[in-house]
């Protein structure tokens, strides 16, 4: 009885599926979007923080922070990072205090209670560049510049994506994809967008933000667009995962101990089962 019922239920589902399958096959049309044909995967970016032995290059992080502060902070927030966190970049306490003091954060007038701004303290977080989403859209071609704290974890191949995007702006009219096809005219950028094949939708509202030499690095490194993009990508890896070094550092002893314990456990297992003619 159960068998007959089960066969009937099975037939119900399988016939329904066959029906979907047949109808689908008749209306079959393999889709191909222009975005898919012209979008480029990010270029490879090697950073010192890569891999299980990764460590941050503090000089690079400081350069990247400088790029963020002087270029990106105009539009992009970094709300999960506090000024005190910058000590991890190698700044000492007076330097951190100075960086905080040099940034204006929201505050209240102590006499009147009105909303105003005040110099930051190490305990403050990086301030939002716009008062609200409406203000953000109004200033940026109806797009909201995303917060950058987690950007390298919020995109596939995050650091490589950031680097490729910043260096990837190119002329839509002369661009050809891997198969040599030119970009269709409908997909050219508009008055308020800019073509970048590393962006999933090909045209984004952010104008190319970096120019040669726009930042003068404290350590004298040449500020090419490529260098600045690498540095800011490395910095954003730190903002997304400040505990990366600690994680790698703790991971090896933990793994080592567990391997050792497992080997000991295995030997104990063999020892205990030795008197059974055949193990399970």
């Amino acid at each position: 009885m159960a068998r007959i019922l089960s066969i009937l239920v099975g037939l119900f589902f399988t016939v329904a599926l066959l029906w979907s399958l047949l109808v689908g096959l008749f209306n079959f049309e393999l889709p191909h979007s222009v975005e898919h044909d012209f979008h480029k995967a990010p270029q490879h970016l090697a950073l010192s923080s890569d891999g299980p032995f990764g460590k941050f290059d503090r000089q690079q992080l400081q350069r990247g922070f400088q790029v963020y502060k002087e270029v990106c902070a105009a539009c992009h927030g970094l709300r999960h990072v506090a000024f005190r966190d910058l000590a991890a970049l190698g700044y000492n306490e007076p330097e951190v205090k100075a960086i905080a003091k040099g940034t204006l954060v929201p505050g209240i007038d102590p006499a009147t209670g009105e909303a105003t701004t005040r110099p930051g303290l190490p305990t403050d977080y990086f301030p939002e560049p716009f008062a609200n989403d409406v203000a953000a859209r109004a200033a940026n071609n109806n797009a909201i510049p995303p917060d950058l704290s987690l950007m390298t974890k919020a995109r596939h191949h995050g650091p490589a994506y950031v680097y490729s995007l910043l260096t990837g702006y190119t002329d839509a009219a002369t661009y050809k994809n891997a198969e040599g096809k030119p970009l269709p005219k409908e997909n050219y950028p508009t008055e308020t967008t800019y073509f970048n094949p590393y962006f999933a939708n090909l045209n984004l509202a952010m104008a190319p933000p970096l120019n040669e030499g726009m930042v003068s690095y404290g350590d004298g490194t040449e500020a090419s667009v490529d260098q600045m993009s690498r540095d800011v990508a490395a910095f954003l890896v730190w903002t997304a995962e400040p505990k990366l070094e600690k994680r790698n550092q703790v991971g090896w002893p933990v793994l080592g101990f567990l391997l050792f314990a497992t080997v000991l456990g295995f030997l104990a297992f063999r020892n205990i089962w030795a008197d059974k003619k055949k193990k399970g």
């Binding site: 159960a2 068998r3 089960s6 066969i7 239920v9 099975g10 037939l11 589902f13 399988t14 016939v15 329904a16 599926l17 066959l18 029906w19 979907s20 399958l21 109808v23 689908g24 096959l25 079959f28 049309e29 393999l30 889709p31 299980p52 999960h80 966190d85 995303p146 704290s149 987690l150 974890k153 919020a154 995109r155 596939h156 995050g158 999933a200 997304a240 400040p242 505990k243 600690k246 994680r247 790698n248 703790v250 991971g251 090896w252 933990v254 793994l255 567990l258 391997l259 314990a261 497992t262 456990g265 295995f266 104990a268 297992f269 205990i272 089962w273 059974k276 003619k277 055949k278 399970g280």
Partner: protein, 427 residues
Amino acid sequence: MSFPWAIEYKPSHPFMQWMDDRLPVPRLVYNAIGAGYPVPRNLNYFWNFGFMALFCLAIQIVTGIILAMHYAANAGVAFDSVEHIMRDVNWGWLMRYGHANGASAFFVVVYVHIFRGFFYSSYKAPREMVWLLGVVIFLLMMATAFMGYVLPWGQMSFWGAKVITGLFGAIPLVGEPIQVWLLGGFAPDNAALNRFFSLHYLLPFVIVGVVVLHIWALHIPGSSNPTGVEVKSESDTVPFYPYFIAKDGWTLGVLLVVLAAMTFFAPNMLGHPDNYIPANPMSTPAHIVPEWYFWPFYAILRAFTVDFFFIPAKLMGVLAMFGSILVWFFLPWLDKSPVRSGSYRPLFRKFFWFGLIPAMVVLFYCGGAPAEEPYVVLSQIASLYYFAHFLIILPIVSAIEKPEPLPYSITEAVLGEDDNAKLGKAG
């Protein structure tokens, strides 16, 4: 617990006797996992996964309770509270990554455990209750994991919640009111997040309760074994302590090595980057996918693309998705073969390895892929096979198959000969 030769608990230390007289926990432990519990001596490594699953549950509860001390379940601050845990709470990053990767480990271990059940027909009499309780545990795990993933309130959290709670709307007549009632609103929002947190904290303890019943039900007939032949005499068994304590111990080490490697060196490998973007009801992600352990069921859900007579495709998908797990409840009655173990069932084995396993692999892959061709067609074919396997193929195979001859006993299978068999044959 109910073997005629199970050793009675006779503590040597007077303190243990004192304890046992007043609260019989010592004898419970002795007869459950101690020297007083006889276990088939031929268990292979597939039998270790039950204990590993229990350990994963323990890891999830410990890391989860610590996370709950720092997490805030309000939609305005949930995402930020998780970042606070990652950045400012001492070892918070380890708790968070441990909990997220621990969930994946829990599902890997449970899937192997379930597939052991499929291959060796662990669901057959007299262990049907063990199996039914196990399916209940799996459903509770799925609910817990789904709600847990919503808690960080990232893009995938929100949109995954939207898709899955939206399925309730597919129920005819009462669907929409039920959906609004469950959500506490018209879409996932603060009300849904708060109740998901409450239930996510509750269900693991319900799982613990059902696990206790699951192990209790198992300990009545005792474990099955790879030959499927029941224990006949003492020589078929070894005491759980120390033999299987030792075996479980070292395989636990292997599990922890793999889990530690993932947690420390590739903590975001199994996750989706979109969940590092705060939830935005105004912005739909390009591809909404659940965590990997739901992919086969997601593929079955999306395989139904066309209305079937008066039943809308959405409802068909929902029925099939739940149905795909509900069929497991009926396995003890679908598979009527008197032979348990797949090792002695050649026809069953062919359908298992060349049918069920490939179908599940395809469903897994398609579940994580976009809902476009050719993945839709592949899902349809694989889902078709999946239902046919359990509901049509298994009942027929179990009726017509010619199994291979079974060993007389476990002792014979392990040692090559069993003196009792000779006595039996002679007598």
